[in-house]
Subunit: 328 residues, 2 copies
């Protein structure tokens, strides 16, 4: 199977490393970063590309663009891991659309296109008989999409509850464990690289809400948007509130909930018993799926990180390789 | 896809109920319990079979045996959920072998055949180009085999750790929470139907060890047997030991561990911090998979129960239907 790899930041490089070091039986025929690209239908030496990127900051030659590779190179599957605006979905949305229109399978780590345009992209993929997979968009290393699609197949999914944002979870964990104020914990998260310079996207609950939109639209076929999610962030959580919770053997976590039967689609700080399965520490994510036959099944793992995202991308690619590559 | 359903106890009936009530696009062409059977290539009315079983204790007619259905009926996939000796694997092993020899896909809930004869069965399935799936054998409702096979595909699995036996976990939970003695907690587990009249298989760690054998042979291709597992049960755990653990904010759980790189294959009661992800309550199971790219991913859910087992069986059946049914 021939791969076009678009995006060569830390996730893209993690994927390239896996292709180099693991025997995955994948040939890369196109690679692009924001400034350069390389095309070779016979297969690109990814070891050399990684070295060139390290030395020059570019993976290929100037003048070969991502879109050129997507629309003209010879490949079976597009791996799309560009830096993308999660709210507009661009430039990933344009890339994914172009690849699907050419009848290419797509695997992406970008939440934006899936949250903004899921049904249009799904229709396009179905029309062309190709796969669109996005395990990496929800809870990084946790194979939640695979579990919902296959592991729990046949179950009615009644609801999904979880800790979907590692940055908020880190801040709340530190506020509770070390009695830090919100500002102190946020500062620490920034210093450790867990929070961005502008933390709005995480701490206001937007990132968690986008993941809920993806799950709601994918699992139940709903047509929700970010505006439909009743979203409250963690920036108003005080040390006093955490101390009060602590006194009842509880703590506070930013919980995302989808319960279509009760029209619940919400992200908010919740007081929950410390012994609850969703109370995980630090930057971990946790998702509980409530089903009719399997009962409640919970998944816990790292929600972010380049290696974790690469893991999710690779699992999607291998799933398509093993189960969906067109028989020629 | 046509199904032969062999075994019509609570799990078999749970599967039949799911086929009746959910739109799974499955036709049942053969059903057998220990005393009777029914064959109809055009499709059996499963609602009627469930009613007959309820009224007469038999699913079909006397004189039609399970083996007759397996070797002569028209079906694509055998669902094998008979009461089977976990140590010898019979009668399931004979049934599964006969179906694979006929080139039929097999889904089973029986640990015995997979633990005793995995490599022979896998070879037989490969030779005939059919699938052998057994999600239900390890941790009931938790889609752990699916996660290891697909969700975490591409990862090197370094180790697997977990609480694999709900009976032991219930007993240890009750001893810790209510300061019961082992005998008191065992009695309670028996009254609630969580422990058998002869609890040896659970409390001596044998059930957990069998699950480790299945994982070791499946995930790493090892050829381990029950004798290779260093197994200690929970029957020697005292209230004093639990109280000591409690004093250090710890508790005791029966933990199964496989770490091939360190030659660890062990089931034993372990003292672990109460905040550890594997400390789950009551009859829950928990499995932590340690990987190179995805880090540590933990799965928590019900380990037993007829509905949970039916869920795992159905997910395997649907996976084969969607991804492996022979194109004709």
């Amino acid at each position: 199977m021939r791969i076009a790899l678009i995006g060569f930041g830390s996730v893209g490089r993690g994927i390239a490393e896996a292709i180099v070091h693991k025997n995955l039986d994948l040939t890369v025929s196109g690679v692009a970063d924001s400034k350069s690209g390389i095309i070779d239908p016979a297969g690109i030496d990814m070891r050399a590309v990684l070295e060139r990127k390290r030395e020059t900051g570019m993976c290929g030659e100037e003048g070969i663009s991502a879109m050129e590779i997507i629309t003209s190179a010879d490949y079976d599957l597009l791996i799309e891991v560009t830096p993308t605006d999660a709210r507009t979905g661009e430039p990933a949305l344009g890339y994914i659309t172009a690849a699907l229109r050419r009848g290419k399978h797509v695997v992406t780590s970008n939440k934006g296109p899936i949250a903004c345009a899921y049904h249009a992209l799904r229709t396009l993929a179905d029309e062309h008989g190709v796969q669109l997979r996005y395990e990496a968009t929800v809870c990084g290393a946790i194979p939640i999409m695979q579990a919902l699609e296959n592991g729990l197949a046949g179950n009615d999914i009644r609801g999904i509850y979880g800790v979907f944002n590692g940055t908020c979870n880190y801040i709340l964990t530190r506020m509770a464990d070390e009695r830090l104020t919100y500002q102190q914990a946020l500062l620490e998260a920034r210093e450790l690289g867990y929070a961005e310079a502008d933390p709005t996207y995480d701490v206001k609950g937007i990132d968690a809400a986008i993941k809920l939109v993806i799950l709601a639209n994918t699992v139940w076929g709903l047509s929700t948007t970010l505006d439909d999610v009743d979203t409250t962030g963690i920036d108003a959580v005080t040390s006093d509130a955490l101390e009060l919770a602590e006194g009842q053997d509880c703590t506070i976590r930013l919980i995302g909930e989808i319960v279509p039967g009760k029209e619940i689609l919400r992200v908010s700080p919740r007081i929950i018993p410390k012994s609850h399965t969703l109370v995980v520490s630090g930057t971990l994510n946790a998702v509980m799926v409530d089903t009719d036959m399997a009962g409640k099944v919970t998944f816990i793992g790292k929600g972010a990180g380049s290696s974790e995202t690469a893991s999710a991308i690779i699992s999607d690619v291998l799933f398509i390789r093993d189960h969906h590559v067109k028989r020629t």
